[in-house]
Amino acid sequence: MKLIFERSIQGRGCAILPPCDVPVTSLPEAMVRKEPPKLPQVGEIDLSRHYTQLMKQTHGVNDGFYPLGSCTMKYNPRVNEEAAALPGFRRIHPLQPEETVQGCLEVLVTAEELLCEITGMDRMTFQPAAGAHGELTGLLLIKAYHHHRQDTARTKILVPDSAHGTNPASAAMAGYQVVSIPSGPDGCVDVEALRKAAGPDTAGLMLTNPNTVGLFDRNILEITQIVHEAGGLCYYDGANLNAVMGIARPGDMGFDVVHLNLHKTFSTPHGGGGPGSGPVGCKELLVPYLPIPLAQRDGAGGYRLDWDRPLTIGAVKDFYGNFLVVARALTYILTLGREGIPEAAENAVLNCNYLMTRLKDVYDMAFDTGCMHEFVITLARQKKELGVTAMDVAKGLLDHGIHPPTMYFPLIVEEALMVEPTETESRETLDEAAEAFHEIYRTALSDPELLHQSPLHTPVRRLDEVAAARNPRLQYHFPD
């Protein structure tokens, strides 16, 4: 299909702005742009049709099942969008006087109070824009804490080998050395290895629980205790909170700081990669270091922004974070409430176990011990026996209108497919998906070549990623 630049016709355009009603000012010649940027020259109908075509080549949660492990692709309720579109939120300048933004501050404070109760934390900042950004923020809190105590020998962050790639990357960005902790044969942290690694140079531990293979680490209290006894702090990667919200809280597992992914657990849309929101909550001992400003109650029934925090790590983003994303998440939490939050977790785990049970007869599970919100299939045997890989199964699913699971992650599982159905899928959808998985398995046995060829019915087929990386073409080349 055409690029927007290929639809461009010299002299075409949209009439958007009025003529100038004040004297026109001009710039000194030296500062004036000589060549106008080559932006599209299109009419509104061209634009409308262009993006409608692009839309048809995009698979969203509303198009079909999206069991992308670790990403919690639950349904994004429309009422959240309505709330975020209110002019009383959309049209508010971030630097308006506090008395004119009491509603916005109430959103932030209310969301903070609800999420602190859900996580068992004392305070929370909404400044981080994404999960990885939250990780960096949380690690900086840990760093500031140790620095403030003159405890500068703590240079290492412990990260299990099953962790998301962002964990070690964030730790490195925060100036830490990363120590990888092996997983045991049960897929959980090897406690003895952790005990050996923890010491006076340990700044902290980053952990996802349930972890990336969908298992709740039952040694969690021992794990956090080992780290605390070594003088380190414990960081909870909230990527998988959807499995346990309302049922267990990171704060009660011994964690000192957490980040949440509002775009996963709290139903805000992913937008093709963003904007998200990665608020960071912490226990009292880290509160002094939280970024500025912090919204809070003013003690007189209103709200204010606290900029006067002498030990703060500073700011990790402009203003107060992705406010409209927080407004969406708050709408969701208010809707679900005290009953709906654990109900969502229960059904996420129910759907996951149900689908796993339905696939167990033909697919090998990496850890066949009952899962939480996600499970990991390994295609290692099929690869060896049939030459069919995780990639082949994933691409086969595309022809069934299903977005494939996360591929080749976690790294500790060979030929991995990580499946996370979420609670917003019905039993019928899960049954259909199970049938699709079975059909692909039958094809793998009867005609593996067909799977290597798949997908056959998508707008484009398998891409030459090697050529894309060897000779990067990263922008449109305009004809001369």
Partner: protein, 444 residues
């Protein structure tokens, strides 16, 4: 209470029983007893959609929506063409994840590729990423791109936005590298002082904004020259609307161009979500953080787009990645792309010229009132600083009563001064009304 779980209680029971379980609790047997909450969350009961929206409306109603805004300082009230919101609220774009599965994500991928092209055009740079969180983090990530084992010092102008400086400072603390502030002189970066400050052995980069926080236009080419002479990179923070008429960073020697993309069709939204754009010279391509989309072909030879150069990224490099970022602001990037397409080069230049002309008109009118003289004499774009004969906060209160959000009262060395801003949305009638109220209050 509200719920988005479609399975009926009967279906849930059947599903449990099909697995030999009797209750939901059985599903959580992995959890040790001690960590179970075993009590309801202490949060309000859930509610239906109508009530939930009602609660949000009540909160929104406590905010003041100003019909006339003369405040910028990093968030700008430009006109947003109707087509922008209509495109970006399409559910497929809204609800898709990062386009890992290219075969069913060509829409998002192509839209990012088009966005990258537009950013390259706007900045006259060689390569753009798919966007980062916002303008401030874009500046911080750009500085990180320039640092290596030997070159560790980031220089940033004191005339930059204070919040951007704070973010830079936090990221530098994170990396354990020094940040040196270049002093400001008469509203612009003191380039003579910069020359003195530069350490040719350790300078990694120099960061200036154009226009700067005070609206003043900097001597970017000269600053770039000083940076390069010391072997450092030059990073330009640009207002994207201004690039409709101002010399683009690629033409004055910038190695990296970054900026806040909010003016390109994103609503004010109490500060977010916004959009950080990032473009660089081709030599720095592999140092760019975040997602990048490239063109290739599929097995049938059809043109197609895909996330590329992924070996830079955290999911492959883990602790050796150049950044931990694993998202982009795709929907905001699409917003910017639709905005730029609807405006075209001509419309963008018009928005820039209107904003600048109105700001100059406002400045001239305010200067007629004693005490409201401009603080700086250099060229400016659509923001400027004046003194104020009365306490700025009191003046703003009077304007608020009239539905006007006035300029931003400044702090620090500029205490008592006001940073004003105009966009194309400020009509002459609005400006005249603002000026007459200011005059009235000042003369009282």
């Amino acid at each position: 209470m509200g719920s988005y779980v479609p399975s009926t209680p009967a279906q849930r029971q059947q599903m449990l029983e099909s697995m030999g379980l009797s209750s939901m609790e059985d599903l959580f047997r992995q959890l040790p007893e001690e960590v179970l909450l075993r009590r309801p969350l202490n949060i309000p009961s859930g509610c239906c959609e109508m009530e939930a929206l009602g609660k949000m409306e009540t909160m929104a109603a406590k905010n003041t929506v100003f019909s006339s805004i003369f405040r910028g300082a990093g968030a700008y009230d430009h006109y947003i063409p109707a087509i922008v919101k209509s495109v970006t609220s399409k559910e497929e774009f809204l609800t898709a994840y990062t386009p890992y599965q290219a075969e069913i994500s060509q829409g998002v991928l192509q839209s990012i590729f088009e966005y990258q092209t537009m950013i390259c055009q706007l900045t006259a740079m060689d390569v753009s990423n798919a966007s980062v969180y916002d303008g401030a983090t874009a500046a911080a990530e750009a500085a990180a791109m320039c640092r290596d084992r030997r070159r560790t010092v980031t220089y940033a102008s004191a005339a930059c936005r204070p919040m951007t400086l704070r973010v830079l400072e936090t990221y530098c603390f994170s990396a354990g590298t020094p940040l040196v502030l270049i002093p400001e002189k008469e509203g612009r970066t003191d380039l003579e002082a910069l020359k003195e400050l530069m350490d040719p052995a350790a300078a990694a980069c120099v960061y200036l904004e154009q226009p700067n926080f005070y609206g003043q236009l900097e001597e970017m080419e000269k600053a770039a020259g000083i940076a390069h002479q010391a072997g450092a990179k030059f990073i330009a923070g640009c207002n994207p609307i201004s690039l409709g008429i101002l010399t683009p960073p690629g033409e004055y020697g910038a190695d990296i161009a970054v900026g806040e993309g909010q003016p390109l069709g994103l609503p004010l939204s109490f500060g977010g979500p916004y959009l950080g754009f990032m473009a660089a010279k081709s030599a720095l391509t592999r140092k760019l953080p975040g997602r990048i989309v490239g063109e290739t072909t599929d097995v049938d030879g059809k043109r197609a787009f895909v996330l590329t150069l992924q070996a830079r990224e955290q999911h492959i490099r883990r602790e050796k990645a150049s950044s931990n970022i694993c998202s982009n602001q795709a929907l905001c990037a699409m917003t910017a792309a639709v905005y730029l397409s609807a405006m075209g080069a001509q419309g963008l230049a018009q928005a820039a010229a209107l904003s600048m002309s109105k700001a100059h008109y406002l400045a001239a009118e305010l200067e007629k009132i004693p005490g409201f003289q401009r603080k700086h004499q250099g060229e400016f774009f659509h923001e400027f600083v004046t003194g104020s004969p009365i306490e700025p906060e009191a003046l703003m209160k009077s304007l608020e009563k009239e539905g006007i959000l006035g300029g931003l009262p400044l702090n620090g060395a500029y205490k008592g001064c006001i940073l004003w801003c105009c966009t194309e949305k400020n009509t002459k009638a609005q400006i005249d009304r603002l000026v007459s109220i200011v005059k009235e209050v000042a003369e009282k």
